[in-house]
């Protein structure tokens, strides 16, 4: 494996084995243990569009493992604005670093960078394309809660049309035999070609506009933000988005171990009353971004995560 551009770069076995590595790295991610597996390595953080969360998560992951990070800096003042091609930028950073984490507004940019680079590329999002590290942290969060990925019933809700996160996650969950329920307003339905592609790959998919009627036997509810800009006017938005908001009062009959996820930031699709329930998992999910990226960095750099992390690590 060179870099990680799409989830298709990983087999199911590789996914599970990386999730195992991530599991073992949890105490390191939490700062309870010092394990400098990546000491002496440098990661280039190339964010051609702002995404503070993802950039910080990559940076934290590298630093928790004792590695260093160099940043592209503000896109507005860097050479990119002066018209440098992605190819040239990659040539430069490739010489400085051992691995590159990148986000770019154009689709295909990560694959392009991988073809131009010697070091592995970790795709942190390319346009409306792929965002595999997000999918890995989502899978990690689901497996952490349920102890498995196969055979779960997962409700994905909100904006399923434009959200690349839910597209990529749906494909990954299909590979593990999950049952998918897509709950969204008609305007924001999962694109038909994705649904047919998922079905071709053996997925059981149900499409509905009724979120509340779909949650009682769910193992996971994955919420997403519905953006106002998608609608013609304010009234239409209020009418549609109102049916895709979770409040603690909706959770009376759900399964005890059901978890609620959200890629964050949320606006009001998950009411703060949900935060107090045992179902809320979105803040852990955000934290899991660090540990999932730690495991991916090790894998792409060819560094083995020791079986007994506690024995290898030291105090901070």
């Amino acid at each position: 494996m060179t870099g990680l551009i799409t989830m298709d770069d990983l087999t199911n076995e590789e996914i599970l084995s990386i999730l195992d590595d991530a599991e073992r790295l949890l105490p390191v991610a939490r700062g309870e243990l010092y394990l400098p597996l990546l000491r002496g390595r440098i990661m280039g953080n190339l964010f051609f569009e702002p995404s503070t969360r993802t950039r910080m998560s990559f940076e934290t992951a590298m630093k928790r493992l004792g590695g260093d990070v160099v940043n592209l800096g503000d896109v507005k003042t860097s050479s990119v604005v002066k018209g440098e091609t992605l190819f040239d930028t990659i040539q430069m950073v490739d010489g400085y670093t051992d691995i590159i984490a990148m986000r770019h507004p154009r689709q295909g940019a990560a694959q392009y960078a991988q073809d131009a680079a010697r070091v592995p590329i970790l795709n942190g999002g390319d346009g409306a394309g792929n965002h595999p590290t997000q999918t890995m942290l989502d899978l990690f969060t689901i497996r952490q809660a349920h102890g498995r990925l196969d055979g779960l019933k997962v409700v994905l809700a909100g904006d399923l049309r434009y959200g690349r996160t839910v597209h990529s996650l749906s494909h990954a969950l299909t590979r593990f035999g999950c049952e998918l329920i897509f709950a969204s307003p008609t305007l924001l339905q999962m694109p038909a070609e994705i649904v047919s592609d998922l079905r071709e790959h053996g997925a059981t998919v149900t499409e509905t506009e009724d979120l509340y009627g779909s949650i009682d036997d769910a193992d996971v509810i994955y919420m997403t933000r519905i953006q106002k800009e998608r609608f013609a006017d304010e009234d239409e938005y209020a009418r549609c988005a109102g049916a895709y908001k979770l409040h603690a009062k909706h959770l009376g009959d759900v399964k005890g171990d059901m978890i609620i996820m959200h890629p964050l930031p949320r606006v009001d699709e998950i009411h703060p009353s949900v935060d107090e329930t045992r179902h809320a998992r979105y803040f852990e999910q955000a934290f899991n971004g660090v540990v999932a990226r730690m495991a991916l960095l090790c894998r792409l750099l060819g560094v083995t995560v020791p079986a007994d992390v506690m024995a290898q690590g030291g105090a901070l």
């Binding site: 799409t6 018209g83 091609t85 992605l86 770019h104 154009r106 295909g108 073809d115 131009a116 346009g127």
Partner: protein, 158 residues
């Protein structure tokens, strides 16, 4: 009707290229893809929808005083992958060219997706489209992964 008879529907050409076995109705698209539609200085003759044993019906194109190059053949592969191409010199077939559609179409056309990284003309890496299926023809961009609209693709010849 024999092949010879259908060929004779248009005048024999002295020098140039004959493209036979073009899928019926696709001749204009072929010309567009080859960039010899419209303001070309060479004479072009077409026959469309003539009966064909192999295809049911087909189109035939004759381009005078011009021999197709390899890169034009590569473009032809995207619209008429089973066409037969003959180079005519002094009224006789001097050469038969074969069209090869490989696993990937490299530097023939540009990806049709408007937000693809390859839309920046200054990016130097090759334009690469993966052949996902041949019949019907489905292509995907190597970089952005988007499926390609063949009608759009005709406008994106490099």
């Amino acid at each position: 009707m024999s092949n010879e008879q259908s060929m004779r529907r248009v005048t024999a050409i002295r020098n140039g290229t004959v493209i036979d076995h073009v899928p019926s109705g696709q001749a204009l698209r072929v010309l567009e893809m080859l960039g010899i539609a419209g303001e070309t200085s060479v004479p072009v003759s077409l026959v469309m929808n003539v009966p064909s044993k192999k295809l049911g019906s087909k189109d035939i194109i004759k381009v005078e005083d011009r021999e197709l190059t390899q890169s034009e053949l590569d473009r032809l592969a995207l619209v008429a992958p089973d066409a037969h191409v003959a180079i005519i010199r002094a009224y006789v077939v001097a050469e038969k060219l074969s069209i090869n559609l490989g696993e990937e179409v490299v530097n023939v056309v540009r990806c049709t997706f408007s937000n693809c990284i390859t839309t920046n003309a200054r990016e130097p890496l090759a334009h690469r489209l993966r052949v996902v299926s041949r019949d019907p023809l489905h292509l995907r961009c190597h970089y952005c992964g988007r499926p390609q609209d063949l009608d759009e693709l005709v406008k994106n010849a490099l």
